[in-house]
Amino acid sequence: MASLKPWASLQVGEAIPELVLPAVTRLNLALYCGASGDHNPIHVDTDFVRTTGLPDVIAHGMLSMAWLGRLLTHWVPQSAIREYNVRFAAMTQIGEVITCSGEVTDKYEHAGEQRVRLSLTTANAEGQVKLSGEAVIALA
């Protein structure tokens, strides 16, 4: 179980423990299709995808955002997350090995809470950023 980190000891620039995922499979996307309720065929149906000009199915952006959510809840209890935002920058493809990373970019006090701001990314093995975002975490 994740526990709260001492705010005073965290430094701007400090990385939180990263999450490296197994290579993305079609099964991953089929399961996420069912579990999320996002039935857009572009994620699971190669026959449909051929009509769009894309070479293959692409991963759901929100699956990547869920992975980054796991990065956060591995670091702190979920109840500490105040804000969580991402921008979908590039498509995640079958076979890619995705790493989720976060880094402290700011420490401040707000609404009586000691907070940190994190920058977040998912990237493939070549370092291409797929999602970039940020989260605000209340540590005390």
Partner: protein, 158 residues
């Protein structure tokens, strides 16, 4: 991709829809869906799949993970309502940004109420890209505020 592209400099979406409010809807948070979502996202923390672990961590039931509110929002009576209202072709639609502001946790067994509105519509690159910003306020069965969702959809016109 595909679809009939609109001429340069022409936008598709009627700006008068800014401020449009959809009828609110309620969704029951089902425990089985949460377990399935945990499996589909590779979640290994038992807090999200095991009642005993959730209770031990101080939760009354399995928690709704950070992004699952977006999935519950898709349980709207007509999930394509806004897309159809704005006349957006889903084949040219991309998910540009997603944001959450959290006020309290939600749990299995909760009945969450989703109130959606269109906050903004704008374009870039001489109309080649149109952006729709949707805001969704989520409250629970006690009327308490759970979260604000912000979704930016991008329509590719060329």
């Amino acid at each position: 991709m595909c679809g009939d592209f609109v001429p340069k400099g022409v936008t598709v979406i009627d700006r008068t829809h800014i401020g449009h409010v959809e009828p609110a809807f309620e969704v029951l948070v089902e425990k089985g869906r949460l377990k399935f979502f945990a499996k589909a996202t590779g979640q290994t923390d038992p807090v999200y799949t095991d009642d005993a672990a959730a209770h031990a961590a101080g939760h009354p039931a399995l928690p709704v993970p950070p992004t699952f509110l977006f999935c519950l929002e898709m349980e709207a009576p007509d999930p394509a309502a806004i897309r159809n209202l704005l006349g957006m072709d889903y084949r040219r639609l991309l998910h540009g940004e997603q944001g959450f502001v959290y006020e309290r946790m939600a749990y299995a067994g909760d009945v969450l109420r989703f109130a959606q509105s269109i906050e903004d519509i704008y374009d870039k690159k001489n109309g080649a890209l149109e952006f729709v910003v949707r805001k969704t306020h989520v409250t629970n069965q006690r009327g308490e505020s759970v979260a604000q969702l912000r979704t930016v959809s991008v329509l590719r016109n060329s």
